[in-house]
């Protein structure tokens, strides 16, 4: 083999990525420009008609607002709580490994299973949550509570993941920096603000990218907990896309909804990537 054909070695990876990532994405993009429904025997190119329909679709904007709210609140809470947990657990103590594995449990349980679990906890008739709080709140059945109930479950599930990543980050900060700060008489808060936080920023941004993208696509947890109800108050863009694609079988319009998720996620990633580059230099 000569040096002239490095492309040959890249080919398997390129073909695989093309087949499993690029092709489906392009196919969905293409579908979003068609009116396609097996029920209407429709399959024709309609340009941006689906997107003009999207812009005028109140249900879509409601779903987008729900998704943005869900993502913003849950990710903010997860990062804050995750950081707190990481700071508490980063120091060396006996039984640390065991504690880490216990903490990771919520993250390890498949989402559909934990959603069922939370469905029981939230049960308004005999759920543990109402029992402990001594209340009769209709957690999953009232428009004011349902989305927050979903957020709480997401925070429960993802905080350990955030904490674990941040613990790893904390351990890469050289001890000398802390010793020097201590010699200079810096207090705990100053040390955190001047040393820990700045050095964690790149990792925090990575965590934010992962969590935001994940939260923005939320489907399984909410699908099991509420199915999008009551009154579409928990319908996220992914759930809406599912209902259009797989219940109403409007493949063209449903793809447009799905592409909108992709667009927002791409935008968010670009913003984060920019911030990340800034924080590295």
């Amino acid at each position: 083999m000569t040096r002239e054909h490095p492309g040959l070695f890249l080919a398997p990876a390129a073909v695989t990525l093309g087949a499993v990532a690029l092709f489906p994405a392009l196919a969905v993009l293409w579908l979003s420009l068609e009116e396609r429904s097996p029920l209407l025997a429709a399959a024709r190119f309609v340009g941006f008609d689906n997107y003009t329909r999207l812009i005028a679709d109140a249900r879509f904007w409601n779903a987008l607002a729900n998704t943005v709210y869900f993502s913003a609140v849950s990710v903010a809470l997860e990062v804050l709580l995750g950081l707190l947990v990481a700071l508490l657990l980063a120091r060396a103590f006996r039984g640390r490994a065991l504690l880490y594995s216990i903490i990771l449990l919520p993250w390890a349980i498949p989402t559909v299973v934990s959603a069922r679990l939370w469905e029981w906890l939230y049960n308004a008739d005999y759920g543990v949550l109402n029992y402990l709080l001594g209340t009769h709140v209709n957690w999953l059945g009232s428009p004011g509570w349902a989305l927050h109930a979903a957020i709480l479950m997401d925070v429960w599930k993802a905080t350990p993941f955030v904490a674990l990543l941040l613990i790893a980050g904390l351990q890469t900060i050289p001890r000398e920096l802390y010793q020097a700060a201590a010699l200079d008489g810096a207090g705990a808060w100053t040390t955190f603000r001047r040393i820990t936080l700045p050095l964690l920023v790149p990792l925090l941004l990575v965590v934010l990218v992962f969590r935001t993208i994940d939260a923005f696509r939320v489907f399984d947890a909410i699908y099991v907990l509420t199915g999008g109800g009551p009154a579409n108050s928990t319908e996220t863009v992914s759930i809406y896309a599912y209902k259009v694609l797989f219940q109403a079988l409007e493949f063209g319009y449903g793809s447009a909804v799905a592409v909108s998720v992709l667009a927002v996620v791409a935008l968010l990633t670009a913003v984060y990537a920019r911030l990340l580059r800034g924080s590295m230099t």
Partner: protein
Amino acid sequence: MTNHTPGRNCLIVAVLLLAALFGACKPSGEESSSHPPVVVFKHSKLFGDPRPLAQLLAEFERANPGVRVRAETLPAASDAQHQYYATNLAAGAADFDVFALDVIWVAEFARAGWLRDLSHLLPAAEREAFFRGPIEAVTWEGRAFALPWFMDAGVLYYRKDLLDKNHLAPPRTWDELLHAARTVTRTESGVHGFIWQGKQYEGLVCNALEYLWSHGGEVLRNGQVVLDSAANRAALTFMRELLTSGVTPEFVTTLTEEPAREIFGRGAALFLRNWPYAWRLFEQQGSAVRGKVGVSALPHFIGGKSAATLGGWQLGVNRHSRNPQAAERLAQYLTSPAAQKVLALAYGYNPPRRALYEDPELLAAQPFFAELRAVYERARPRPVTPQYVRLSQVLQAEFSGALAGLKSPSQALIDAQRQAEAILR
């Protein structure tokens, strides 16, 4: 048809490549000279012993020499089946011949041209043998596109013991139900008045229609949307009042069939709206309410008539079937009185044929069939339209908004009317 867009071709190439990769060689029901014709029968799994159905199919083969039947099951989730049939039928698949359709798909599939016209199998006399609801449900533009196989309809379950204790009769009107629920829950602690299915999903539409209809209201009349009517407003307002008055707990907005059945089944509710399947479970060994449960038609508003939403399964024949004659014979055979009796005895599924509700053997096995007959006479299909799924999604969201108190019932109906008109335009 402009099917030959580049996207579709790419997709086909990709699928073929994948098929080649995995050596996926799908068996098909193709007729060939050396093999007898195979009729493929697709249906969702029947819950229970698979043998009675297998025996029926074997009997059909004996009666039709030269025809072989292969039964294939699909997952129980209705959405998954809908998607499976729609995508395969749209692609002209011929690898299944007879298949079971949910009652709400018939118009959709018939309009798409996927079903064989079976009108000749349902002459007037035969149509009379079935309840009216299932016949309406399989009819699209005056032609029949499927044969009713099993049926379902909403019924009212009540606690006989609690009503007797308070000298109350089973309610015939919604007001009587309110009165009875208030009277009983005043003295019985831990008992909810009336439980039903109020979560935002298909079941909510089934429930709500029963109130609308029993007040003389409708969703569609002659193809026109008539949601925003005085009758519908009064009916939906009553549903909301069930919650605000405490007769129905607010968490009914989270309930589907099974959680609702479970609450009544452990003795924590006086009334329950559910499908007939629940009866067996209430009467089985170890049930907390065994022997204490009565069934009746759902109540109605004063001046209205009791109504029940129709559910159930029909058998259709794939228009692209390569063995249409044999397929039609199989559909006819499986919906015959004899076969429906076997299936009712073996699986407890309710036949859509009137005469079977007078069959002594069936009545002995399922005593409450006697009660069911009156309900089934009144069972009505949900709006028969090819756009049913989209219409239902609108109704689910708007009814849910009214129940949760997010908007007034009249606003919900105005909003539903506007969206439904846009869909059916």
